[in-house]
Symmetry: C2
Subunit: 145 residues, 2 copies
């Protein structure tokens, strides 16, 4: 059993955030001793799942719904599985989007490196097709028609 302060340290979260999660129903059934929260392994696991679902882009209100399903037992296995399947899809899409973002960023890094060498963007603009490394070429052709 851990105090709120210990858990805050463990997860590198402010205490106020843990209280907020509890108030929002993300830690249903957390034990108390003379008013103070007692975090057990169940709550530690719940917090790992909360961090996972948050990172996947889920909102607090939807995480609360998931926690409710957990309490309802076996009849909600299907809903819970579907939720994770949907999160899987969302995260995979986000990673694809980030990969495209990264491609453009890499181009911009190259671009400014050249501009610094050349001392100006003016000359560079015309010379891009010649100078651009092969691995950035397709990106440039797509991204700038």
């Amino acid at each position: 059993m851990y105090t709120i302060g210990q858990v805050a340290e463990m997860f590198q979260l402010p205490i106020s955030t843990l209280r907020y999660y509890d108030k929002e129903g993300l830690l249903p059934g957390i034990e108390r001793k003379s008013g103070r929260r007692l975090f057990s392994d169940v709550e530690i696991e719940a917090l790992h799942v909360i961090e996972c679902l948050k990172a996947s882009g889920l909102e607090i209100r939807e995480i609360r719904q998931f926690m409710k399903w957990c309490i309802e037992g076996a009849e909600t296995y299907g809903k819970r599985k579907e939720l994770f399947e949907a999160r899987k899809k969302a995260v995979e899409e986000e990673m694809t989007r980030l990969q495209k973002t990264l491609d453009l960023i890499r181009f911009k890094c190259w671009y400014y490196e050249q501009a610094i060498k050349d001392g100006t963007e003016e000359k560079l603009q015309a010379m891009i097709p010649d100078k651009l490394p092969k691995e950035l070429r397709e990106l440039y052709d797509n991204g700038h028609q």
Copy 2:
């Protein structure tokens, strides 16, 4: 030259968002004709960069700073390059985090699939070490000590 409505269609963004970006200084020097915004190739390119920087996690206020640097010319090439280098690092870190998130999500998908087959979580908890596919094994050992 495009009208705000055409650009909204092009980027699948609400018109109000484009006006907001302009008001926040993300489209400096945009032309006007009798009060109406005229988006040229410069603004279209700016919007691509805005979407990229937003996707990388940059805030509006920092994008505005970048746009100011663009106007200042050659003396800010270094700053602009450093900004993109920093964004590259941030996006790479975010992708690493999302990969970990995805690993846990995949475990949960497997877990609920098993629970549905078995009809209960109870039995499953004890059987995890035996049933868990090899590729999810390390995750389980790390994630649950």
